[in-house]
């Protein structure tokens, strides 16, 4: 046999050469070439991610405005001597949950006082001497405040549940996409009869993108869900505190 030269050869298959640019420029082509199922999975994850981030942004804006307005409302409430003064600023601070509680309590108070203002109801208590207004039912006022805080709590928690859903569902959706992708890959292996890494590798990598996308959607959702529910809890205790304060003032002045 004739002597061969002094060379060393590195052979490279085309498929392996294509994958060494990572998740770089060819990621678009890669996704475009993937199966409809994995495209669908990625699309669903994309929608979930967009929706959850939109809710996060919306809630953060809402809460920031809410905190600002609540602090100025409390400032006004504690400095003023009359409920009617406070009522007049309610319109401009309507994003604070305390405003809703206050308005409900004030309306209930007004209704009761107006009724008590007239002739003595049969069976009711006569108006107190000296023209001093009295509350007919203290419990009714309490219930009105309770209803108002229920409404405000609903408003605070509105749409936060989407974050919890995203956090718990998207990893599973991604995992589903991955498992189906791996199933397809193994079918491909069976079809070609080749266990070459250059045949198997891209398929599995493509399948794993779905799990990565699911995690990328879920992780911020978990974080912001905890952040927002914690804030909601704080606001709820603030509402509770405010309604007790309101009851105290009403009891002091109208009994």
């Amino acid at each position: 046999m004739r002597t061969l030269g002094y060379y060393a050869i590195a052979l490279q298959t085309q498929a392996l050469g294509a994958s060494d640019s990572g998740l770089g420029g060819n990621a678009l082509a890669w996704i475009a070439a993937s199966s409809p199922l994995s495209k669908g999975v990625l699309f669903i994850l994309f929608l979930f991610s967009i929706a959850s981030w939109a809710v996060v942004l919306n809630k953060l804006w809402q809460f920031r405005r809410l905190e600002r307005q609540t602090s100025s409302f409390l400032d006004i409430f504690r400095r003023s001597t009359k409920f009617s003064e406070v009522q007049s600023v309610c319109r401009s601070l309507s994003h604070s949950p305390l405003v809703g509680v206050f308005q409900a309590g004030y309306a209930e108070l007004n209704t009761q006082l107006r009724q008590g203002d007239g002739a003595t109801n049969p069976g009711g208590r006569p108006a107190a001497a000296g023209g001093r207004l009295t509350l007919r039912s203290f419990d009714a006022l309490d219930r009105a405040l309770l209803r108002a805080s229920g409404v405000e709590a609903n408003k605070l928690e509105h749409r936060v549940d989407l974050l919890a859903t995203t956090a718990s569902i998207t990893p599973f959706i991604g995992l589903f996409g991955t498992v189906m992708g791996i199933v397809t890959t193994f079918q491909a292996i069976g079809g070609t009869g080749s266990t070459n890494l250059s045949v198997v590798g891209p398929g599995i990598a493509e399948a794993l993108i779905a799990t990565a996308a699911g995690l990328a959607a879920a992780i911020p959702a978990v974080y912001f869900y905890n952040l927002l529910t914690n804030k909601v809890k704080l606001y709820l205790s603030g509402i509770e505190d405010f309604s007790l304060e309101f009851l105290n003032i009403a009891e002091r002045n109208f009994t």
Partner: protein, 272 residues
């Protein structure tokens, strides 16, 4: 004056009012835009977003190193699994081994048997064959048999692979397909290229070329990967590739083409 219920209803409706949902739509738009930006960054990041530019992707390189020092011209296909097999050499004519003889028993001196000496008692069992320990290897003396050839040299490489040995003037083949089917094709390819290549230059240098073998045997995408620094050597290597006419890829090979990195090594030496 509104009743409490009216106020509560008003407050509950507030969250779906236009102002509120306007903010929500704004949030959706912002979220969509930031997602689009993020995805665009990932896709159009210059050198791959996830792989750091310094580290190369680990390739499944199987080193079947066949390049060897200059030696006698002998060659042939090596076995699989990267074990170059030496050419079997004719056995040396060994000197005849001499059996080591136990020393001859000394002749007994003449003695008068003692009258009261008795015979040792006979064994109960008649011995039919020697016990195991007493059999076995016969100790030998003399020259050891030296055996050459047919030795397997462990190259330390792992995995399967195929290679060809060109004997002393070996060519190195590096495969990074774990199961490239056809070692004989490589041998043929190297041989065909070598016929067009003028190896005998006055300097030692290395030129690394890259090319792609199409299914029908055409060579395309011939590029100079690592220049030697000498224009003549680069040109000579490229010329060898352009002139070589290869046979079509073996039908058992699955891909449509095969990209090869080939190093041409020039040695400044006089060889016939």
């Amino acid at each position: 004056m509104e009743s409490t219920t009216d106020i509560l209803r008003e407050r509950a409706r507030d969250q779906d009012s236009l102002g509120q949902s306007h903010a929500l739509w704004l949030a959706y738009a912002l979220s969509l835009v930031s997602h689009a930006v993020l995805i665009a960054v990932i896709i159009f990041w210059p050198a791959g977003f996830l792989s750091s530019p310094e580290t190369e992707m680990p390739t499944v390189v199987m080193n079947i190193s066949l390049g060897g020092p200059v030696g006698p011209s002998q060659g042939g296909l090596t076995a699989l699994a990267a074990r170059p097999v030496q050419e079997a050499l004719p056995l040396e004519e060994a000197d005849e081994a001499q059996w080591e003889q136990p020393p001859a028993p000394a002749p007994p001196e003449m003695t008068i048997p003692t009258p009261d000496a008795r015979r040792r008692p006979e064994a109960d069992v008649a011995v039919e064959s020697a016990p195991d320990e007493s059999r076995g290897r016969t100790p030998t003396r003399g020259p050891t048999l030296r055996r050459e050839g047919n030795a397997l040299a462990e190259t330390g490489s792992e995995g399967d692979g195929a290679g060809l040995s060109a004997g002393g003037l070996g060519s190195g083949v590096q495969l990074d397909v774990a199961d490239f089917c056809c070692p004989e094709y490589l041998s043929l390819m190297v041989d065909l290229i070598d016929r067009r290549w003028n190896r005998r230059q006055r300097v030692s240098a290395e030129v690394k070329m890259k090319f792609t073998i199409q299914r029908d045997g055409r060579l395309t995408d011939i590029e100079l990967e690592t220049p030697s620094g000498y224009f003549a050597l680069d040109t000579s290597a490229e010329r060898a590739l352009r002139l070589a006419s290869l046979t079509p890829l073996p039908s058992r090979f699955a891909s449509d083409d095969l990209t090869v990195h080939l190093t041409f090594r020039y040695f400044a030496e006089e060889r016939p």
